[in-house]
Symmetry: C2
Subunit: 151 residues, 2 copies
DNA sequence: GACAGAAGATATGCGCGCATATTGTATGTA
DNA sequence: TACATACAATATGCGCGCATATCTTCTGTC
């Protein structure tokens, strides 16, 4: 166990490190696509998910949105406050539970989310386009890992 | 463009967001495997890569190691300084270029890298084990993305 | 030899991922 | 009613990813 292992020392030959680097590259692509909207990639995910949730039910709480997106409730709290400061959404106290904050997009926020969505979709399609026909298999593998590796 | 898109609003149905979440889960697995060695996942990658590079040539500079691993030279500089403070490696001025710092593992650092390597390998194999026979295809897809999405 | 440009290292600052602790509120049970 | 427990939100702190600026040193060309 004292001899170096080529398959670990060389990141490009390990699935884990490939995963890591590919994700970083994807995040850079997202950042580039969202830069002109003054949105970070987490801000966008929260806005887009809120758009989706709003369209089919009551306004969600911060907690519910964070669970839905799969990010840390702490992060969600901070990011949502900034988005509220920018006037993209409002955080109002839940009348049924004064601990919770209900989220509601403003018209400005709704419009921004919709426009950013098209840019992100284009960047995403371009990024994964190189996989060609293997894309379905790739996504299936990701799903298998994702369902296995629940937090 | 003002109607929500289910495939984007629901992260688990988008390849990009799947990628993101799976990578976060992998990083958590790495963190757990490395916790008892008091190593972060980036610290480990640097140590293991240094182990590999040392075994087959002259000691690399910080820049060369950062390039090899694929991380930011800035991060590498900070992390390597901490590792040097812990006595796991030494950073000596390159006699051929007084700007560069040459990296050399200490015996303690070499031993720690080797032990941590076994834990990480086990965790990694366990993590990707759920892919079963699809693992090769998955890694091939990752490689395609990786080579395409060079920084 | 003198100069401009490139490269290695560092500092600063912001956003994200996560762990921990604290406060206030909503539940359960006695 | 009183209390313990659980939960939503917040604050703090650390490590990472990255952009920008600065300083020093090397290398090119004249």
């Amino acid at each position: 166990m004292t001899t170096p292992r080529p398959d670990w020392a060389a990141p490009e030959q390990s699935a884990g490190f490939l995963l890591w680097r590919v994700t970083l590259a994807w995040q850079r692509a997202m950042r580039a696509a969202l830069a002109r909207h003054e949105l970070t990639h987490v801000q966008f995910v929260l806005l887009a998910s809120l758009l989706w949730l709003e369209s089919r039910g009551d306004p969600p709480s911060q907690q519910r949105l964070a669970d839905f997106v799969g990010i840390d409730p702490m992060m969600a709290s901070q990011v949502l406050r900034k988005l509220a400061d920018r006037g993209l959404l409002v955080r109002e106290v839940d009348p049924a539970d004064s601990r919770a904050r209900l989220l509601r997009l403003t018209p400005v926020g709704r419009a921004l989310a919709a426009v950013a969505l098209t840019d992100v979709e284009k960047a995403d399609a371009e990024y994964f386009g190189v996989l060609g026909g293997d894309r379905a298999d790739f996504v299936r593998s990701l799903s298998a890992l994702s369902s296995f590796a629940q937090r």
